[in-house]
C-alpha cells in the first residue's frame, strides 16, 4: 500500500465525525488566502495537495485547516515568495501587536 496520506481508498476508516464544527475566524482567513493565491495563479491546487502529502506523519497529527495552512506556508517558502526570516519577522510583529 502507498504510504501517501491522501491515498487511503479501501482502508478501514473507523467512525466518521459528521458534526459540523463550523469555521473559526483564522480558518476563514486561511481559506480566503488560499483562494486568493490560487485565483491569482501564484500556486496551483495540485501543488497544495502535494505539499500536504509531503507533511508525512505530521499530516495525521494536524487538523484539516492546520494541515492545509502548513502546506501553503511550505509551498510559498519553496517557491520563494518570501523567506523564512521574513515570515518569522512578520509573525513576531503580529504577536507584539496582539499582546500589547
Amino acid at each position: 500500500m502507498s504510504p501517501n496520506p491522501a491515498d487511503i481508498g479501501g482502508q478501514a476508516a473507523g467512525p466518521i465525525d459528521t458534526v459540523d464544527h463550523g469555521m473559526k475566524f483564522w480558518e476563514k482567513q486561511a481559506n480566503a488566502l488560499r483562494n486568493t493565491l490560487t485565483s491569482r495563479k501564484l500556486v496551483r491546487l495540485d501543488e497544495l495537495r502535494r505539499a500536504a502529502e509531503d507533511l508525512g506523519d505530521r499530516y495525521y497529527r494536524l487538523g484539516y485547516f492546520e494541515r492545509t495552512t502548513e502546506a501553503m506556508r511550505n509551498l510559498l517558502l519553496e517557491k520563494g515568495l518570501f523567506t523564512r526570516g521574513e515570515l518569522d519577522g512578520k509573525i513576531e510583529e503580529v504577536r507584539k501587536r496582539y499582546d500589547s
Binding site: 502507498s2 501517501n4 479501501g10 495540485d46
Partner: protein, 103 residues
C-alpha cells in the same frame, strides 16, 4: 466563469470498450492513480479529454505534454477481495493514459 480546460484527444492509445490493466507500480511523488486500483483490469468507459499532467503540475511544472484521461470501469469483486455484492457492481475511476497498458 472559468472556461473549461477540456481538449479533445484524437491521438490516443485506447478507445471505449478496450480492456486494459492499470500499472502496478509505486513510484514516489504525487500520483493520481489510487493504490487500490493499481494492477487491476478494467474497460474504458469514456475518453474524458486531454489535460495538463497533474503529477507534473504538483511540482510547479507546466504539465506538458498533456495526458489523455479515461474513465475506466472495474468489477467491484475484482477490486476488493472481500466484496460481497453483485458481480454486476462496477466502480469507475478516472485514470491517465500513462498509468494504463493493454490487458
Amino acid at each position: 466563469m472559468t472556461p473549461s480546460t477540456y481538449t479533445p484527444a484524437p491521438e490516443r492509445r485506447f478507445n471505449v470498450g478496450d480492456r486494459e490493466r492499470v500499472k502496478n507500480a509505486n513510484p514516489p511523488g504525487h500520483r493520481r492513480t489510487p493504490a487500490y486500483i493499481r494492477g487491476k483490469q478494467g474497460e474504458i468507459e469514456r475518453v474524458c479529454g486531454r489535460f495538463p499532467n497533474p503529477e507534473e503540475l504538483a511540482y510547479g511544472f507546466d504539465g506538458e505534454p498533456r495526458r489523455v484521461l479515461y474513465r475506466v470501469q472495474f468489477k467491484q469483486r475484482e477490486v476488493w477481495g472481500s466484496y460481497a455484492g453483485s458481480n454486476h457492481d462496477l466502480i469507475e475511476v478516472e485514470i491517465y493514459e500513462h498509468w494504463l497498458e493493454p490487458a
